[in-house]
């Protein structure tokens, strides 16, 4: 059983990781590199001269970009392990796992891992002002865990109590509030930061849907081979 989870998660995670890397290089990385020109001080927002919104960006950097591909694949393998572990439990309890409803698993995973924390801690472009990283992590992890539990409740305990607890779990972290910086000192134009946040979330949703479908697919194929 463990081997089956591990094998299918590695296939699904690696494949989704490649999709994520491609989408991030196309849509997220250029925004990040643009922001870094302001972070590093090469460009100054509201300086003496207006700055063109179109800038020449650094091209392919082998070490940096290949490391990014590797870590993207690792991160999505981590997600795949968690998703397939939960799929195996759901299946044991009578749920059907197919690539089609795997896409819904993907949307739920996106809400838990990406949208819920991003609702109060928006994906950060380099150079933004933010509270201490440890404090943000201390808020981030419980928020993801609470949202994941809420998704499970909405999927499998859809009665008044289940839904009520799920709503509380989804809202509580944002009512309590995420750690925020004392002052806003970010040198990056808001236009770039806003584009970065929506691109990061959009790519996250696309890849999570692919990941959910792939997890369900490989979970089923590994069963036939076993």
């Amino acid at each position: 059983m463990f081997a089956r989870i591990l094998t299918s998660a590695l296939f699904a995670g690696a494949a989704a990781g490649v999709v994520a890397a491609i989408l991030q290089f196309m849509f997220v990385q250029p925004v990040l590199l643009h922001a870094e020109l302001y972070e590093a001080g090469d460009l100054v927002h509201f300086g003496a001269e207006p700055v063109s919104a179109i800038q020449a960006l650094p091209g392919f950097e082998p070490t940096r970009d290949l490391l990014s591909v590797m870590f993207t694949m690792l991160i999505y393998c981590g997600y795949a392990l968690a998703v397939i572990a939960l799929m195996s439990v759901a299946q044991e309890r009578g749920a059907k796992i197919t690539p089609t409803n795997g896409m819904i698993w993907g949307v739920a995973g996106f809400v838990a891992a990406h949208l819920a924390p991003g609702f109060s801690l928006a994906p950060e472009v380099p150079g933004v002002a933010a509270a201490d990283v440890t404090l943000r992590q201390m808020w981030f992890f419980p928020t993801v865990a609470a949202a994941a539990l809420a998704m499970w409740l909405l999927a499998f305990y859809r009665n008044a109590v289940g839904i009520a607890v799920a709503v509380v779990l989804l809202l509580a972290p944002h009512v309590i509030g995420a750690p925020e910086p004392d002052t806003f000192t970010g040198p990056v134009p808001t236009e770039i930061a806003a584009l970065f946040a929506s691109r990061a979330l959009g790519v996250g949703l696309a890849v999570w849907v692919v990941l959910g479908a792939l997890c369900a697919h490989f979970w089923a194929t590994e069963a036939k081979d076993a």
Partner: protein
């Protein structure tokens, strides 16, 4: 007879829970290591991905 069936299904569901639990722990471990540990080497290598995935980076 009923007791036997109950025991069998309990054992089955327990035996499914344990590998799932360890896979979940392994997955979270990979995510923490690749996405959140602040050690300089890991942070620099994963920098762009951490930003693009919406993790708190630095």
């Amino acid at each position: 007879m009923t007791t036997t069936t109950a025991t069998v299904s309990l054992t089955r569901s327990k035996s499914a829970m344990i590998p799932a639990f360890f896979a979940l722990v392994l997955g979270v471990g990979v995510l923490v290591l690749a996405g959140h540990v602040q050690a300089a080497a890991l942070h620099d290598a994963a920098h762009d991905v951490r930003h693009a995935t919406g993790f708190p980076c630095h």
